[in-house]
Symmetry: C2
DNA sequence: TCAAAAAGTGAATCGTGCTTCACAAAACTT
DNA sequence: AAGTTTTGTGAAGCACGATTCACTTTTTGA
């Protein structure tokens, strides 16, 4: 009588769930939330629309999950940077560079998740995520102020400004594929320098710490 | 045979058009584009939904007009500041303060117009408007660099960052009515200082130019 | 192998909100 | 004042896309 899912089945279901999340994420990255209808997600994931509702109770909750997962990964990367060696200014520079360069590769994903509103539920999650990013920068700022690297300042405001600054710099001139890698690099540097000056960093750190090439090896 | 509208009629029509624009603007300010349905606009303006379409061909065009008008006013204010006396740093400070303090009073209007996407048509207009704001700041930056007040920098990037910084600082901590005037003022100052440091302003200008109180006389 | 349960399907349903339209009222012309 | 045109009405039409549901297929337990 009582039922039990075989491990194989269990696995397949989990895989389906992942495929749905992945498909949703991909569609958002390609064309924003606007393009990510349930039917499209289903097609992309190789399932029927109805099946989606076996895994997620509503579109809103699906996208909240997508958002949370994406942001979790992003925050993790930033945390690794903070835990690493270097001055507060270097940490800040690395965080901004890292975030911006990744966002430039999937512009709509970053845009949708940071800026594009949707159902109130997703919106609420979006705001929480923005705050999470803000918190990371707040920690860098507090650290830098304690170390005497940065002058005292309203860390809440500065953190929000930093998030806003690089966000706008990304989505403003967003003619994505058109810009060359070279000019993207220049943009990243400009934004980084803006943020460093903004927090009152006394000495701008070296452009790129050449040691330990973290992940993405750009410009071959 | 040929028809001519009496001046009185002409006037009434123009007034209606204005009332529609005003109603739309008000609704956006109150609850974002989400709340501003055609039927609501019509009700607010004291007309029927059908009548709206005698004045505007579509919802999208109506809101493009609303957006353009709002931004035109805003830019005008910034232009007056730029034309006035003072250093580039003072101009920048005044622009940021002016924009931010006005935005804090109608947070959703600022939000909707700077950040909230809608139909592609409105979206396009929104991006144009952002660029217009960016251009104002670009001019301040170029001026400041020429005068030797600011170090050389990527003015496009910096201008975008400034717009982004104060936008985020405004819409991020959007618990609008709750914050006291006092804390709002502190926020404005923090954001202003952030932007001044960010562009590398050598000397932070006096907190508030006491002479010639421009418009808004806050804190009585 | 068969019956019960779960998973999957995709067309129909439903809600929302823009847009149209058949008609009414008002404004102009003669 | 009668006829013509413009303006106004608001309910109906329509498009879009999330959600549901009657049904099929697959999996599981005996």
């Amino acid at each position: 009588m009582a039922y039990k899912r075989s491990p194989l089945m269990e696995e397949r279901l989990a895989a389906n769930r992942q495929r749905i999340l992945q498909a949703a994420r991909q569609l958002v990255a390609a064309g924003g939330l606007r393009e990510a209808q349930i039917s499209a997600v289903a097609a992309e994931a190789g399932l029927s629309t109805g099946a989606i509702y076996r895994y997620f109770p509503s579109k809103a909750e699906l996208f909240v999950d997508v958002l949370n997962e994406a942001v979790r990964q992003e925050i993790e990367i930033l945390d690794v940077i903070l835990a690493g060696p270097g001055s507060a200014a270097e940490h800040l520079a690395q965080c901004v560079e890292s975030f911006v360069s990744r966002a430039l590769r999937g512009p709509n994903l970053a845009y949708a998740f940071i800026a594009e509103p949707a159902e109130p539920e997703v919106d609420a999650a979006r705001i929480r995520c923005r705050m999470m990013f803000g918190d990371v920068f707040k920690r860098v700022l507090q650290d830098g102020i304690e170390r005497g690297e940065f002058p005292p300042q309203n860390v809440d405001a500065s953190a929000a400004c930093i998030v806003g600054a690089y966000t706008e710099a990304l989505v403003g001139p967003i003619a994505p594929a058109t810009r060359s890698v070279r000019s993207q690099d220049r943009l990243i540097e400009s934004v980084r320098d803006f943020c460093l000056r903004a927090v009152g960093a006394t000495a701008v750190p070296p452009a790129k710490p050449p040691a330990r090439p973290r992940r993405r090896a750009r410009t071959a």
